[in-house]
Symmetry: C2
Subunit: 188 residues, 2 copies
């Protein structure tokens, strides 16, 4: 059994560099946010300004990344940041997700960050908390220097369409299934 080495991609005859790129990490497996985090570090290493917007409550899982990101100068927006809940019409989580999107949209449109990570944005999109068409059109009409990484399960079709590269992280097996809990230093 042989594998192709990953350097031997077949390229179409006409190739071009992109001013920016849209990546989507979806699927039920591990590695969606971890790979976004890896891209973030690459961008920082190139001297780019980077913003991360989290669309779900983090619990303890993302504290490590947040600490590292902030230490490296990333503009990190944790869900619920500066949040005042004064609506009778929305649940608290829904209102926080909308606030996060409002912030993300302004960061994308400002064009001062060369990478904007929309971590776990697919969940509020799929739950109808934020408008998928608005997210997709904001990405499509973004300043040309702004790259985007969006993560989360069940990426909506319109988000897949607007992306250049989409990877499905599929669970083959998971330590959880045999009762092994998340490990500090590896999972967070």
């Amino acid at each position: 059994m042989t594998s192709e080495p990953p350097t031997e991609h077949e390229l179409p005859p006409q190739t071009r560099p992109a001013k920016s790129i849209v990546l989507v990490h979806t699927g039920d497996g591990k590695g969606k946010s971890t790979a976004a985090f890896g891209v973030m570090i690459r961008s920082i290493a190139r001297g780019w300004q980077v913003a991360v917007v989290q669309f779900l409550k983090s619990g303890t899982w993302r504290v490590g990344e947040e600490e590292i990101g902030k230490r490296l100068g990333v503009d990190w927006w944790s869900i619920g940041e500066g949040f005042t809940w004064d609506s009778d019409d929305l649940t608290r989580d829904e209102a926080m997700a909308r606030e996060a999107w409002k912030h993300a949209r302004s960061v994308i449109e400002a064009g001062t960050h060369r990478l904007v990570v929309l971590d776990e944005i697919t969940y509020p999109m799929n739950w109808g908390w934020i408008d998928t068409d608005e997210v997709v059109s904001t990405i499509r009409e973004r300043p040309e220097s702004v790259s985007i990484v969006a993560t989360g399960r069940d990426a909506p079709a319109a988000l897949v369409d607007v992306a250049d590269t989409v990877t499905e992280m599929r669970k083959v097996k998971h330590a959880y299934d045999v009762g092994i809990v998340a490990k500090k230093g590896i999972d967070y």
Copy 2:
């Protein structure tokens, strides 16, 4: 359409922390090495000693990671390091892969690094350049504090068996397919 939030994993009734963990990132999509790189940064952030061993020639793609890794104190073994080719029986690439495995094995068995990344090790395993049984038994019998991340397409079944968590990164779409070349700051 709704998605389960990723925090709501169903756990078996009996859970336990693991002393160490084995992760495999496989599949034809992007993100295998990028997610390994993300795990590496988490481990560094926890103060762990980390080693990376590359099993394929890097080209320009991994230079960014290598620079960052070394700057952060990672013991980074590039394929071909310190290499003298004095064999008539092996091709140069095969001899280099065996040398990389010899090094990786000694690092794992020494037990001084809490994370060892075996980047793209599946290729020389599948090509018969290094012995899959030996790799798997070295991983199975490793010192209990040593975690492993192994990457590459077509992970052999025995490697999947020894792993705690296996993710298949599946290509849904790729910028390459429409002629967009790899982007600095994102892909490397």
